[in-house]
């Protein structure tokens, strides 16, 4: 890694004139301001194509993003040859674009529109959207060119993940070895204070990271002193993203072909975790009193939460990628019973009540006045299901937690009880009883009152009793046991290997079970790298891409975004575009049919 040389890259031009060792980011991304866009673009496209799906010259979501974020000048347009086809084609009438050679594609694309109500609903959003819709669907040329262009683009390279989560030894005598091991990690998360004190690192001891932390701090603060916040840069295959928040610098370094926006949302989640531990006023106060404070002490005990989050990102987390949660599939009537039971069991002190099974949402109740922020839910899920700490604590826990979406200045109090619903009698989980994430059922009750433990506990007692009496516990257990359906259960005979479907309105996602070919960590990460690539390409700022098709030697993949949903699907190599589109359509139909079971819609209000 080339931190050492980074200071020299402070200025893009200097960067080009100074041959750095080892090779430097051709251009720190946020500098595109100062640079001729032209040279900028060329620098990017000369990059090795490892960055994947997104990649290939002109659509590189990353670079269009960067460029467009600052300028939407004609010069940029000119450079984006292929995408410009995409964006300009909507001006053509539909019929005009329907050339003979396109007919096949056209029909498959049109079938989207016909098959899904959602596509029709898009037009409700008025002309602006409607024309953008044309961008996405109406223009076969967009579809085709994207495809053609990406034909030879690699999906992310083989990832050697075996050592990723191994601890870096801090044996002083083997310093070299330790540094090598540190550098070999595919992904790093570092958190430091504005004063340059290390707060958290996923890998390596203080001794190993101290020099890197120093360099990072120097780079960041030199940009800061010019009132020009450094947001990220790229060095070879490593992408650096920096999030500056309340006297903290959070840094992600990734070799896993993730986009800046994706890494940024991961850093955001880490920052939220810190906020949830300390609250914003405390965090601000700590540093205003003494800027050189070592934040590790106030954060003590939460390293495991940060690491659990970091590792889930490294492995690939659909919920973070999509910023959505997954619900347990239940009959609508069953869910209504559970919701009503919870409302009935509620005590005055209750603010929010949740039942979560196997990391999936079963039921939510909330007061009329307060909605529950998806980011907050996400935080709770991470805390309870990604980190072992609380679950392993067994029994019942009572945890002060700040939910930044609700109120970042104070704590709420969270009562958590993990249940084992599988056995004959429902009982609380014993201490350290190892129960798979998939099987754990948690009752989560939040209150603003720190004295509410006994009340919440008695509510839980009543709730569990009632849920058992009306058979809901069995229903939940059965739903957890039956797991997620396989893609072939959803669309018989499908070539789809896996997909992610996000319902934007419900802020929830749905995915099928992982087939055996994705059972190991490595192939799962590969799968997620493709998802990341698809996601990045359809989320690039100002990119009008709404349908993206990637083909490589191992798979054929499709992303499809409408105002109602996002669908990412991956099929085995050689699957034709038509087949892929038809399958995607069937998935959408299935989900629409099952919507009220798959997603928790609304939740109960009291």
């Amino acid at each position: 890694m080339s931190h050492r040389d980074d200071p020299r890259s402070e200025d893009g031009k200097k960067d080009q004139s100074t041959p750095a060792r080892p090779p430097l980011p051709p251009r720190p991304t946020n500098l595109s301001f100062f640079q001729d866009n032209n040279s900028n673009r060329q620098a990017t496209s000369s990059r090795p194509p490892t960055r994947a799906g997104l990649v290939s010259s002109a659509t590189t979501a990353l670079s269009t993003n960067d460029v467009n974020a600052y300028t939407r000048l004609g010069s940029v347009r000119k450079l984006r040859t292929v995408p410009s086809q995409l964006t300009s084609s909507p001006s053509m009438s539909k019929t005009a674009s329907r050339t003979a050679s396109d007919t096949a594609d056209d029909s498959s694309i049109r079938s989207y529109g016909l098959a899904s109500e959602q596509a029709q609903e898009e037009s409700i959003f008025g002309d602006g959207l409607a024309s953008r819709k044309n961008d996405a669907f109406g223009t076969d040329s967009g579809f085709i060119s994207t495809h053609d262009m990406l034909e030879e683009a690699d999906v992310p390279p083989e990832i050697d993940f075996e050592e990723e989560f191994e601890p870096v030894s801090d044996d002083i005598e083997q310093e070299e070895v330790a540094h090598e091991a540190w550098k070999a990690k595919k992904k790093h998360f570092l958190i430091l204070s504005a004063a340059g004190k290390p707060i958290y690192t996923r890998h390596g001891s203080d001794a190993i990271i101290s020099s890197y932390v120093g360099i990072i701090q120097t780079i960041i603060s030199s940009y800061d002193s010019w009132n020009n916040q450094l947001r990220g840069f790229q060095a070879k295959d490593a992408r650096f993203v920096i999030l500056s928040q309340t006297n903290l610098f959070l840094v992600a370094i990734s070799n896993l072909s993730e986009s800046e926006a994706q890494l940024r949302s991961q850093l955001d989640a880490l920052y939220t975790q810190i906020l949830s531990t300390l609250t914003l006023p405390t965090l601000t106060h700590i540093f205003s009193v003494r800027p050189s404070t070592d934040l590790r002490r106030p954060l003590q005990g939460t390293e495991v939460l940060l690491s659990a989050l970091a590792d889930s990102f490294t492995r690939g987390s659909p919920s973070t990628l999509l910023s959505a949660l997954e619900s347990l599939r239940l009959r609508k009537s069953h869910r209504t019973v559970i919701n009503n039971t919870m409302v009935k069991a509620r005590v005055d002190e209750l603010l929010y009540g949740l039942i979560v099974a196997g990391g999936r949402l079963v039921s939510v109740i909330r007061p009329k006045k307060h909605s529950l922020h998806p980011g907050d839910l996400h935080l709770i899920f991470n805390m309870l299901f990604e980190a072992e700490g609380i679950k392993a604590g067994g029994g019942e826990s009572f945890i002060p937690i700040c939910l930044p979406g609700f109120n970042k200045t104070g704590y709420l109090y969270m009562y958590v009880s993990f249940l084992d619903v599988g056995s004959e009698s429902i009982r609380e989980l014993g201490l350290d009883e190892n129960i798979a994430k998939e099987d754990a059922v948690a009752i989560i009750l939040l209150s603003a009152n720190k004295e509410s433990f006994e009340d919440l506990r008695s509510m839980k007692g009543y709730l569990v009793h009632e849920l058992r009496k009306n058979g809901s516990m069995k229903v939940i257990h059965k739903a957890v046991q039956s797991g997620r359906p396989l893609p072939t259960d959803i669309v018989p005979g499908t070539a789809l290997r896996h997909f992610l479907y996000k319902s934007k309105g419900n802020v929830q996602f749905f995915m099928p079970a992982f087939e055996s070919q994705f059972s190991d960590m490595q192939s799962k990460r590969q799968l997620f790298s493709i998802y990341h690539a698809l996601h990045a390409s359809v989320h690039a700022k100002y990119a009008a891409v709404k349908v993206q098709h990637i083909v490589n030697s191992t798979c054929s993949a499709l992303a499809w975004v409408t105002p109602m949903f996002e669908l990412y699907c991956i099929a085995s190599a050689g699957t034709s575009r038509n087949a892929l589109a038809q399958n995607a359509n069937k998935v959408v139909q299935y989900i629409q049919r099952e919507e009220e079971r798959i997603f928790l819609i609304g939740g109960a209000v009291f």
Binding site: T277, L278, T279, L280, P281, T282, L283, T284, H285, R297, P298, Q300, G301, T302, E303, V304, L305, M383, E388, G389, I390, A392, G393, G394, G395, E396, S397, F398, I399, P400, I401, T409, G410, Y411, M414, R427, E428, G430, L431, D432, N449, K450, E451, F453, E454, R457, S458
Partner: protein, 223 residues
């Protein structure tokens, strides 16, 4: 040791009492010292890599003193972290007994324990029974050089402050059962009082304001 949970009620004629116990102490960096003690007591397990508690954990364990006497402990295992310090009064307010844990291999941990004892004696129940537990005896047994606090010093302090005293090892279970049994024996079993703790709602509305605001730290004034 009887099974866990409230199932430990003995037959008619037996004495059954339920007590609230709070565990306090400084959380050793990274690993939980006191939590491992609870884990040993409640589940008879030990985990070298156990992380410290986040928030507070609520656990129960029943101890059978003799044929007729069963004592159920409702245990609050509080996180030792400084940021939760303001929550501590909530946990020890109605506690009948407390175990204050220190680490015999770390000199500073006894000071922290002493300050907890002082706070308990000043602010908790008047009759609270406090036990001082010097944990990690196994490390010292293996390597006496690692001892940072002598038994005599700690014992003298415990005597002076009126505390039960044990050196324990959560890892080898040494003295763990003895510690909790000694506490159970010292509890006022004959008084009917604590029998049904939860059924007695606290009298009068508690004024939570000062604590609630103090809890958010000085940052509150920034809003």
């Amino acid at each position: 040791m009887a099974g866990r949970g409230p199932a430990g009620r003995p037959g008619a004629g037996g004495r059954f009492a339920q007590f609230k116990l709070v565990l306090l102490g400084e959380s050793a960096v990274g690993k939980a010292n006191q939590s491992s003690l609870v884990l040993r007591f409640v589940k008879d397990q030990f985990d070298d890599y156990r992380e410290s508690t986040i928030g507070a954990a609520f656990l129960t364990q029943t101890v059978t003193l003799d044929e007729n006497t069963t004592v159920k402990f409702e245990i609050w295992d509080t996180a030792g972290q400084e940021r939760y310090k303001s929550l501590a009064p909530m946990y020890y307010r109605n506690a009948h007994c407390a175990v204050v844990v220190y680490d015999i291999t770390q000199a500073s941990s006894l000071d922290k324990a002493k300050s907890w004892v002082k706070e308990l004696q000043r602010q908790a129940n008047e009759n609270i029974i406090i036990a001082l537990a010097g944990n990690k005896k196994d490390i010292v047994d293996e390597n006496p050089d690692k001892r940072a606090i002598s038994t005599a010093d700690a014992e003298a302090y415990a005597k002076e402050a009126g505390l039960l005293f044990f050196e324990t090892s959560a890892k080898t279970a040494n003295n763990v059962k003895e510690l909790f049994t000694a506490i159970a024996k010292k509890l006022p079993l004959d008084q009917a009082g604590p029998r049904n703790l939860r059924a007695n709602p606290r009298t009068g509305p508690l004024d939570l304001r000062p604590e609630a605001t103090g809890q958010q730290g000085a940052g509150n004034c920034n809003c």
